[in-house]
Subunit: 321 residues, 2 copies
């Protein structure tokens, strides 16, 4: 009799720690989260992670004996071989032995993965194992993502990839969080869209976006998209230019990697076809590849769950070596 | 007794067809070339390829019985599984069964590879098999290259990658040969450097580059580099800006892929340290990865021989499946 095994996926974020009990096919059976309170010492954060895992397992009706391994998606630079967060800026960690510390509480195999790469692995699982190669691009506070080739995360010889938000889009352009100028992230992140929205509002006081702001009290990544739907020409211009930035970034990564599927995630991806249709049209026109089968551009599927599922899949992959 | 096997590598270029007898470790033992005369029908070109191979083998003192397989580096989009050039613009080919046609003359296993990917495989062989991941970037008429991951060419799910010259460098910038605007190729190719040189000469009639042109009769990729060495400030500005374009492109590809080695080839790479030292300095400053081991940026080793060696290595890889 084959025993069904489960995996634990932990998404260690700057705001919350989320954990889930995940089946081999990538379905979350039970999950919960607690605040990270990231100013604390890392040992307290890891203790809370272990407590959260015990709770999730208990609430699922399963036991720790049914768990094959634990995966943790961590921000920053991760030394996967040794289970160490080498450096994280978000939750301050410098050479922290996360796996070893976690195993003081729960004695199971523990595998670390960079959080963006873990999310890519989660989305990859959601798209199905028949996919040869996969790129995940998140449009959030930054532009992040991950690359899956032959079913495995590709993060470089050093584990420091795949920073797809840090390809150049505009040589010498807007300052990026990474210190360089003109990265894709500085144009295609939600942060950048908000900046673009504000600039357009200042230049066009009659734009509907100014009234929207007065009503809602804040400018978000949705401001331009919503006012564009209502026909505001300034909002349409902001939205369309933003979409062009994203589409250019997609052309660049596809020209290099030609993945079978490229999925777009992050908050903005909830715009669905409003975002996807013009990107697909731009891509069809501008992709270098004119003669072979083309990359399929899609909206991601898991949204906030990608981190949990992907961390669990990283645990599964780690166990298989 | 183990029998030493050899491979034939053929580099099918727009000007010449070059072929070589190559040992398993990537050493060329014998080689020769003939003009492609690319306006001819492809069947005549392929017949010449086979004649050239017979000649190279005969001149080497070996026999066709010692050849394990033939690799052909072809321009354009290549269907490796079927040995077909799907589309080439340089030597006009549309769905040409190159492998099948070649085997009418020489009955050996034949494997096709895109010429840029083949060159990458050749350079990879020259750097040694211990290298985990490798990116080759050629600065020539265009900017091309290839990606080797886990010892194999990565060219996407469709074989259409890795067009590393067609990442965006300047959104909406100079028109590129691919139809898009602002690709790295439109700034970092020799063609682009010549354009940048001419523009600077027009803007600065007193520049030494104008005298250089009058003496030499033409402007090349070396004009700015040579006059910069002589201290001409306009030439120094052209050279330094060009190097910055190349370095930005390298940062973009490394941020995504983090290969163990990135090697720069093509005519400009003969400038050696004049090119490499400032690129390494720029990269050290601008690479996203600040905490893990860094990609080693190098000058390529094989120059014109990369295509032959790489095609032979593609044959070896093809035979191994």
């Amino acid at each position: 009799m084959e025993i069904t095994m489960y995996y634990i996926g932990i998404d260690l974020g700057g705001t919350n720690i989320a954990a889930g009990l995940v089946s081999e096919d990538g379905t979350i059976l039970s999950s919960a989260s607690v605040p990270t309170l990231k100013e604390r010492h890392w040992s307290e954060i890891i203790k809370d992670m272990a407590d959260l895992v015990r709770r999730v397992v208990a609430e699922s009706g399963h036991t720790l004996e049914e768990i094959a391994a634990v995966g943790i998606g961590c921000p920053g630079s991760v030394d996967k071989a040794n289970g160490v967060v080498v450096y994280s800026n978000n939750i301050v960690m410098h050479n922290v032995p996360v796996a070893e510390e976690f195993r003081k509480y729960i004695d199971l195999p523990v595998f670390l993965e960079n959080d963006a790469n873990a999310a890519a692995l989660g989305e990859y699982a959601a798209f199905g194992e028949g996919v040869d190669s996969f790129v995940f691009m998140t449009l959030g506070t930054g532009v992040g993502g991950g690359i899956i080739l032959n079913g495995k995360v590709w993060s470089g010889f050093n584990g420091a990839g795949a920073e797809i938000g840090h390809q150049t889009l505009v040589f010498g352009g807007e300052k990026c969080t990474c210190g360089r100028k003109g990265c894709l992230e500085a144009y295609a992140s939600v942060t950048a869209l908000i900046r673009q929205t504000k600039e357009a509002m200042e230049g066009h006081p009659a734009s509907m976006m100014n009234a929207w702001f007065e009503q809602k009290g804040r400018i978000t990544g949705r401001t331009a998209f919503e006012c564009a739907k209502l026909g505001d020409p300034t909002a349409i211009a902001v939205r369309d230019r933003y979409i062009e930035y994203v589409a250019e970034g997609i052309c660049s990564i596809v020209n290099v990697l030609q993945p079978e599927i490229l999925a777009i995630g992050g908050g903005i991806s909830r715009e669905g076809d409003t975002l996807l249709a013009p990107i697909k049209a731009y891509f069809a026109e501008n992709d270098y590849n004119k003669h072979m089968k083309k990359t399929d551009i899609r909206i991601a599927k898991l949204f906030g769950d990608a981190g949990i599922v992907g961390a669990a899949m990283a645990a599964e992959a780690g166990l298989k070596g």
